[in-house]
Amino acid sequence: MRKLILALGLILSAAGAMAFDIEEERLFGSGQEASVVSILSTTDIDIFEPLVVAFQAVNPGIAVQYTVASTTEVYRAVSGRERAFDLVISSAMDLQMKLANDGYAREHRSIETDGLPTWARWRDQLFAFAQEPVVLILSRPAFDGLRLPQTRADLIDLLRANPERFEGRIGTYDPNRSGAGYLFATQDARQSDTFWRLSEVMGGLSPRLYDGSGAMIADVQAGRLALAYNVLGSYAAAQLAGDPNAALIELEDFTNVLLRTALIPREAERPELGAAFLDFLLSGKGQTLIDEKAGLPRIDAATLASAGHRRPIRLDPGLLVFVDPLKRQRFLSEWTAAVVRR
């Protein structure tokens, strides 16, 4: 019954050293399969495993090679044509957009892609399969006696009023190191000027900078952090479930909603298999599994419509602006000036 799961080490084969860094790689399959679909992803193997297993239950003839890398490495792998993948999954919408805009993606149309809302696809090349709010999480004991903030303005007021409580106990992404953190920060900056005020205030309280949501959530749970700003909601919801000391807050002035996207690279060797896996992700069954097993909220226009504060990050050329190296440099230097004090 159980699939034989082969764990492979990093492939340091005759092809020589990979020019991009791989975090994890695994081949799902029994060795009997006729073909292999290779997927490059920023999402951890643990989260995707149920989906891969379900995909193989439907397509027993296909082995799945699942490679995990960071968002920037994923971008480099595709744009630098480092290695051919059949499907590329990333949470860095801006980089995915850049890949599609610059012609690295293939067009694909199917019943499943046509079923997506227009905001969840671009040019039949880039497809969103999960929507995740970017949230604030906090430790209830740290806020003892204080009203929990509902907006960024609330948060600024609380931080200003109680600097002793929050000094050194604020966590957020370092956009210099994390592609997701950079995307969240730039989208915040685009949405509202309060972001810069918040950054200034946080900067005055010696914030701790992270390059992943998991560590931030763990530190909040452990009480090392009073709050963590801009955390992936799906991870937080899974990790904080049943924890009475932690709270997850979607700020009401606006809450960015990240779209996890997939594209089929132009260089794909087996694009039809990549398309098959993509269609499976977008199918009713795949979406249910994403929602229930992987813990990533499915694409659902209705929940967005019912919660007015949730703003999906738009898949439009605007995303290209912050990918521009000059713009990036400018933004990061401003951010560093605001947040990092010497």
Binding site: N101, D324, L326
Partner: protein, 462 residues
């Protein structure tokens, strides 16, 4: 009468419809093309405006300074390009001719930029056709002016999609226009040709004797045709009248010498003692009588033709008229021992008719009956009223019709095939038929049971 098959040079209706359809098709096509062109250029103008705005938005954010040009691309600059569709966006910013950011191989404008508004051009880039807006700004860096070019490019799939959609609508509109116009052209062709059909029908409906000019109202285009037709009718009518007049004149001129000839023949008969000569003279007198009768009938016919055109109607009693006419033929019949059996209604049968015409008709009927009855035969004359019709039947005991058709025998100068031994002009029944037709009645010849023929006249009362 046999209808002539005319050589056809095609149908006006078909030609008209064909020409209208071609015209309409051309108009529909022009409509389609103009909508497409207008829509295409309108969409392009709009897209250019957005692209130009994006370019200018970037240019507006350029700042000078001491150590270089500050470039800060606004998010909205590219975001607005995504408003109309899902087009790829490329950009390139050059400072003093050197690319500082963006796509280094994005094509430059092939003419110097100038002015505040962007310059637009279309190029192939990354295997796509892109529309490019380029604008140039001068920025002061360390008190030295520096030239900055901002180039923004966008693929045109959204524009193409909109234009294709509009073209579809334009095509639908063109087809609809064509369908409606085609229907209208069918109706037009029909209504244009209606007067011609009306005229043809009006002329075709005319009776064989009707030689009045055509006075049916026609469109001015048909007036020459009708005028020509009327002239033709007038010539025909004139020729007919001349012929009738000639016959009447000729008959009249012959009758007088015939009377003189008969009188002299009788004198000769009385004076002659030679039996052979007397027989010859008697034969001659009989021939003169027959000739006189024929001449009389010719005159009768001429009178009937003349009078049917100019009838003088009056109230007459058909019963009395019939009785009088039978009385006139009494002596002639007695000579051949032919008796009359008269059956008339007691009341007068009044109708409006031309007395002379009716007299002429009945006279010819009775004359025929007497002429063709066998010796000692019986002629029955009956008149009865059925509804609004008076029915006069004259039956003789002659040799019958021997199968000849009624219509054949009533033709002018037509005679039955079994009467070659009896002298006659063949005009008698023609006169009867014309008189009856002039009064809107009906005339038929039928075989009488037990030998002989019956002439049946029905005349409308009133």
């Amino acid at each position: 009468m046999k209808r002539l098959r005319l050589a056809s040079s095609g149908s006006i209706r078909q030609r008209l419809i064909l020409q209208l359809l071609v015209l309409v098709a051309v108009l529909s096509w022009v409509l389609y093309l103009s909508i497409r062109t207008v829509a295409g250029s309108a969409v392009e103008t709009t897209q250019d405006a957005i692209l130009g705005s994006a370019t200018i938005a970037i240019a507006e954010e350029l700042r000078g300074g001491v150590d270089g040009v500050a470039i800060d691309i606004p998010y909205t600059a590219f975001s607005m390009l995504g408003a109309t569709g899902e087009d790829r966006v490329f950009y390139r910013i050059l400072v003093d001719g050197a690319t500082v950011t963006g796509y280094e191989d994005l094509p430059l404008a092939d003419q110097p930029l100038g002015g505040l508004s962007p310059f637009f051009y279309t190029r192939e880039y990354q295997s796509d056709t892109v529309r490019i807006a380029a604008v140039e700004r001068s920025v002061i860096v360390g008190s030295r002016p520096v030239r900055v070019e901002v180039i923004v490019a966008q693929t045109r799939s959204a524009q193409d999609a909109i234009v294709a959609q509009m073209a579809n609508r334009a095509a639908t509109l063109g087809l609809g226009f064509f369908a409606i116009a085609a229907l209208l052209s069918l109706l037009t062709a029909r209504s244009v040709l209606q007067p011609v059909n009306n005229l043809a029908e009006a002329v075709g409906r005319r009776g064989p004797q009707d030689l009045r000019p055509v006075e049916w109202p026609v469109p001015s285009e048909l007036a020459p045709l009708v005028a020509a037709l009327n002239q033709f009718i007038a010539r025909l009518s004139g020729a007919l009248i001349r012929t009738e007049t000639f016959i009447a004149e000729a008959a009249h001129h012959i009758r007088t010498p015939l009377a003189t000839l008969r009188a002299q023949a009788e004198i000769a008969l009385r004076q002659s003692q030679d039996e052979a000569a007397r027989a010859a003279i008697r034969g001659m007198i009989r021939s003169v009588d027959d000739s006189a009768r024929s001449v009389g009938q010719l005159l009768d016919h001429a009178a009937v033709v003349y009078r049917t055109d100019q009838r003088t109607d009056e109230e007459i009693d058909l019963a009395a008229l019939t009785r009088d006419m039978v009385a006139v033929f009494g002596p002639a019949a007695e000579l051949r021992d032919i008796g009359f059996e008269l059956s008339l209604p007691d009341e007068p049968v009044t109708m409006t008719a031309d007395r002379l015409l009716l007299e002429s008709a009945i006279r010819n009927l009775l004359d025929n009956a007497v002429k063709y009855s066998a010796l000692e035969g019986l002629i029955s004359v009956s008149l009865e009223v059925e509804g609004d019709q008076a029915r006069l039947t004259v039956c003789d005991s002659g040799r019958g019709l021997s199968g000849a058709k009624s219509a054949t025998l009533t033709g002018r100068f037509r005679r039955g095939e079994n009467v070659s031994d009896v002298i006659g002009s063949g005009l008698g029944l023609t006169i009867v038929r014309e008189v009856v037709a002039a009064h809107g009645g009906d005339f038929r010849l039928t075989e009488r049971e037990g030998g002989g023929a019956c002439a049946n006249l029905s005349l409308p009362l009133g």
